[in-house]
Amino acid sequence: MSQAELTREVARRVFASEFNDSTYTFKESDDERAPNYALLPTGDRANRVFAVGTLTETEDVGEDSEYWRGRVVDPTGTFFVYAGQYQPEAASVLRDTETPAYVSVVGKPRTYETEDGTVNVSVRPETISIVDEATRDRWVVETAERTLDRIEEFEAWQDDQEAPESGSTAPTNEYAQMARERYDSPVENYRRDVIEALENVEDVEATA
């Protein structure tokens, strides 16, 4: 087994709007058991994510066996969470939870291509837990911080690409480069989403 498989993959913090744009997936090696990564448009790889939001709807969309879909909403968009017979615990949470409720989801990004060629990104959950509003707010602020850090590194790298003669010491940023090759949307969009998300938490505080 390679070192990469022995090391537990970190759970990235990413808002729904960026997560749903993470349509490109890749592996770092040819080994068939090598982990799969979704490429985040702000320039990082995610084999696992941790998301907190409001579970607004659940539906059994399975045909032969139960297959539950949950919509988990954050200030920027909706995570689609699918759990079937191989995720029995997560499926039972989706089956039993009365919506709306704050939930946290730990899971793996999955992509599938629809007939018209669009790629949808969803979460295959490892665990879903009921949480409180304080946890949700903490996640929004934490995710905003991690996202801003990625944007900062992306922009430092980008400036360096545009003015290589300036002798800047910005580090190489493999995943920023990959993101620029694969995606069209500018990272500025995600900065605006971060502001929106933070304002959402601030408003709640102000009216509380």
Binding site: F50, T135, V141
Partner: protein, 309 residues
């Protein structure tokens, strides 16, 4: 700079306040001993130092620090540094070689470090539990771990004071994202000093045994940048979950199944943010001090940053 020159410089620095001597003089003396008489550099240094001590009418203790600098254990991060440390002998180990007089673990408030004292250095013995000022010890590194070596120039002074020894503690803040197997109500081997966790009533070492119940959580706490494995022992688990070992046993008894305890704990802890402090053992952090992060968060600072980017 050559090795000899470096030592000459160090010695010169030690004596420059006391006697009029040039670095070249010191180097000549060292070179004679090392090159002509094949004396090891440590021994040559000791001998030359003694010569100047005599000339200046000084005792070794009169030399103020000199080339070595007072350091704390956590600051040791490169080999071949001459330092002075004040440390407690936490434990002495059995030397594996005749060339080693004593080997063991030293600790100060910032951490712990291995030490080796060579037989040929002919230094007084250190006692377990004693607190010492050790001047002129040399740092060393092996596979990323640091140690200090006492040598013939080392000055050992026993201090009549207590010294609190710090752990290599970690502080982690993040979400508890996973609870691993082997968590909840477990059984341990009752043999002396074994305490292995039983698998299906069997101990890997002692076979089928009547296990003793214990509570623990093996969890992953993740801040989005790193995933840390954390172990909560019985007390930490009881505090975290409000479920005592006795209650856990009752729950398992009622359900005729120990996994109900793990299920209950998982519901309580997964998805929650914690700040955890504790010593590190290999890849695990032992949760000594746990705080649930359920207070309000401040979005304002970050909002200012995001708007100005």
């Amino acid at each position: 700079m050559s090795d000899v020159r470096q030592h000459a410089d160090d010695i010169h620095d030690q004596f420059s306040d006391h006697i009029d001597v040039s670095v070249d003089d010191v180097e000549d003396r060292l070179t004679t001993l090392v090159d002509e008489y094949k004396v090891p550099i440590d021994e040559a240094r000791r001998s030359v130092t003694n010569h100047y001590l005599e000339e200046a009418g000084l005792d070794r203790e009169d030399l103020a620090g000199g080339s070595s600098e007072a350091a704390e254990i956590e600051d040791v991060d490169e080999p071949e540094q001459w330092i002075d440390i004040t440390a407690k002998v936490i434990e002495l180990w059995e030397p594996r070689s005749d060339s080693v007089a004593q080997v063991g673990l030293l600790g100060d408030p910032t951490g712990t470090i291995k030490f080796t004292k060579w037989a040929k250095s002919d230094l007084p013995a250190l006692d377990e539990g004693g607190v010492y000022e050790l001047r002129n010890v040399v740092t060393d590194e092996y596979e990323g771990r640091y140690s200090v070596k006492l040598n013939s120039t080392t000055v050992i002074e026993e201090l009549d004071e207590e010294l609190e020894v710090g752990d290599d503690t970690s502080e982690i803040e993040g979400a508890l994202v996973d609870m691993q197997s082997g968590s909840g109500l477990i059984k341990r081997c009752p043999k002396d000093d074994c305490t292995r966790v039983l698998q299906n009533g069997r101990c890997n070492e002692h076979g089928e045994v009547e296990g003793e119940f214990d509570l623990r959580i093996k969890a992953v706490v993740d801040d989005g940048l790193d995933a840390h494995e954390v172990i909560f022992d019985k007390d930490a688990t009881e505090n975290l979950t409000g479920i005592s070992l006795e209650e856990a046993k009752d729950m398992a008894m009622d359900a005729l199944d120990t996994t109900v305890v793990a299920d209950e704990i998982r519901d309580l802890v997964v998805g929650t943010y914690y700040r955890i402090e504790g010593p590190t053992f290999g890849r695990y952090v032992l949760a000594d001090d746990v705080e649930e992060l359920d207070g309000p968060v401040d979005a304002e600072q970050l909002l200012i940053k995001a708007r100005s980017m």
